[in-house]
């Protein structure tokens, strides 16, 4: 009994955590990913974000989900989505995607009126699905590469291009968030910002659970998923959206025959 108690002492546990961190630190150097030269630093930020998220944001998001009725949550999410649509439309315009621009503008008009100020996404219900767009994608369509993968403190996955685009947009008064910053009534402004953050986090809970269920290494899983998704957005805008990953490089044509023969022996 006494021995057991000693093994679970806080100091020992801390020691195990430090050892585990040290091991992870060594491992990252062994298999560098070309798009993630800052992996060591990123893994540190990732661990920090995870700790903050687990202690603060995730519990709040779950409480929000448990305490509010689903229709209210969907209303809140839709209102923010409606504001973001304005920003998406603007970026579609920057990408000279007139069809997307007018469709998204039509969505905003329809949802703002028939959808009671964006509360109900009537446009999606009628088959006019959201066409997401953002400045990072615009820069990608214009030919800018993503640059290295970066994990931003608190905000998570990004790249040099996308991170600069969102921070730049925020600073230059053109992000969907900045009109909120212009609100003089500080409590109102903070409530809106807080609700926005909680709504965003809540919408990610399912994805989060899915990652926990399926990932071998959460860091790599999330990084590769993020990069795939961002690349796909840009490629779709550029018109080669039907491109599928090419796995053929690693597939030796005569391999499976060998395998079959060996297995048969």
């Amino acid at each position: 009994m006494k021995n057991n108690a000693r093994f679970t002492s806080p100091r020992l546990r801390l020691g195990v955590v430090v050892a585990a961190l040290a091991l992870t630190g060594c491992a990252t150097v062994e298999s560098p990913s070309p798009r993630d030269p800052l992996e060591r630093l990123n893994r540190g930020t990732f661990a920090f974000n995870d700790a903050v998220d687990g202690a603060v944001f995730k519990p709040i998001a779950y409480a929000y989900r448990d305490l509010t009725p689903a229709p209210l949550r969907s209303c809140v999410g839709n209102i923010f989505g409606n504001v973001e649509d304005v920003w998406s439309a603007f970026n579609s315009l920057l990408q000279a995607r007139g069809h997307d621009f007018f469709n998204t503008l039509g969505r905003v008009m329809f949802n703002s009126t028939m959808g009671l100020g964006g509360c109900i996404d009537v446009a999606t219900m009628n088959g006019a699905y959201r066409i997401k767009n953002d400045l990072g994608t615009t820069l990608g369509v214009w030919g800018l590469g993503t640059g290295p993968y970066i994990v931003l403190p608190f905000l998570g996955s990004s790249t040099l291009r996308d991170g600069t685009a969102s921070l730049g947009g925020f600073a230059a008064d053109i992000s969907p968030l900045t009109p909120v910053m212009a609100i003089d009534n500080v409590p109102v402004r903070n409530v809106i910002l807080g609700t926005y953050a909680v709504d965003k986090r809540e919408s990610l809970l399912d994805a989060d659970e899915m990652v926990n269920r399926t990932a071998l290494d959460r860091y790599s899983f999330i990084r590769d998923a993020y990069l795939q998704q961002r690349d796909a957005l840009v490629n779709q805008r550029k018109g080669d959206g039907s491109a599928v990953p090419d796995y053929s490089d690693d597939e030796l044509p005569d391999y499976s025959d060998n395998g079959a023969q060996e297995a048969a022996r």
Binding site: S31, G106, M125, N126, Y129, D206, T214, E262
Partner: protein, 220 residues
């Protein structure tokens, strides 16, 4: 696709939306799940094949109270019964392992496929989680060469709460008919997303280490 011009397409969209608005409520009342249960023809057109397999699974989840309320064990079982027979797990695992596959001996390869299977089932289940009575799967128009041996079928999974989710299936033609070997959820291809994780684990602790790690995550 052809769009005459953006203005007319806007007015077209607006007209469609306004016309549809009146119908929206009644459409919501009538359950959209009126698809007749189609027989699965693995040698037919890839779109019809995926539609039939997906609809079968969707109907099964809708009928099952446990699965509908998000019981993952039950969803995994349904996936195992209804989707698994049409999936080529061996190919998925082989492509995810990439060049490392050749370093493994046949026993290791078999163990790897078995170990990865749990992860794959959980991933396919993820595409069926959060299903409700209005959920439906719309297969998108087929793009690409219908006579090819390697095709992609695109679908959109809609539900009452939350945005529509794009789910694509990559299929190959085998003597027994079409087999799914890769799945894409919201622009993320499964195989692509496991390549780095596999390589990383193999570099750290070899093929056996990877098998062990996968089996461990199956216990979660």
């Amino acid at each position: 696709m052809h769009y005459p011009n953006t203005l007319s397409s806007l007015s077209g969209t607006a007209k469609r939306l306004i016309a549809a608005a009146g119908l929206a409520i009644s459409a919501l009342m009538i359950s959209v799940s009126a698809h007749a249960q189609a027989a699965i023809d693995a040698k037919g057109a890839p779109n019809d094949f995926v539609q039939a397999v997906a609809d079968n699974a969707l109907q099964a989840v809708k009928k099952d109270e446990a699965a509908k309320s998000g019981d993952l064990k039950r969803i995994n079982q349904l996936v195992d019964q209804l989707i698994l027979p049409y999936v080529n797990f061996e190919k998925t695992t082989r492509l995810a392992a990439g060049r490392h596959w050749r370093q493994a001996n046949p026993q290791q390869q078999q163990a790897l496929v078995e170990a990865f299977k749990g992860t794959l089932i959980r991933t396919y289940s993820g595409a069926l989680a959060n299903v409700d009575d209005v959920s439906r799967i719309d297969i998108q128009p087929f793009r690409g060469d219908a006579n090819a041996d390697d095709v992609v079928v695109r679908s959109l999974v809609t539900r009452s709460n939350g945005p529509a989710v794009g789910v694509d299936y990559r299929l190959e033609k085998t003597p027994e008919g079409w087999k799914v070997y890769d799945i894409n959820i919201e622009n993320i291809w499964l195989i692509q997303n496991y390549r780095n994780q596999f390589a990383q684990q193999i570099q750290q602790s070899g093929i056996d280490g990877l098998i062990k790690a996968l089996n461990q995550s199956n216990l979660k």
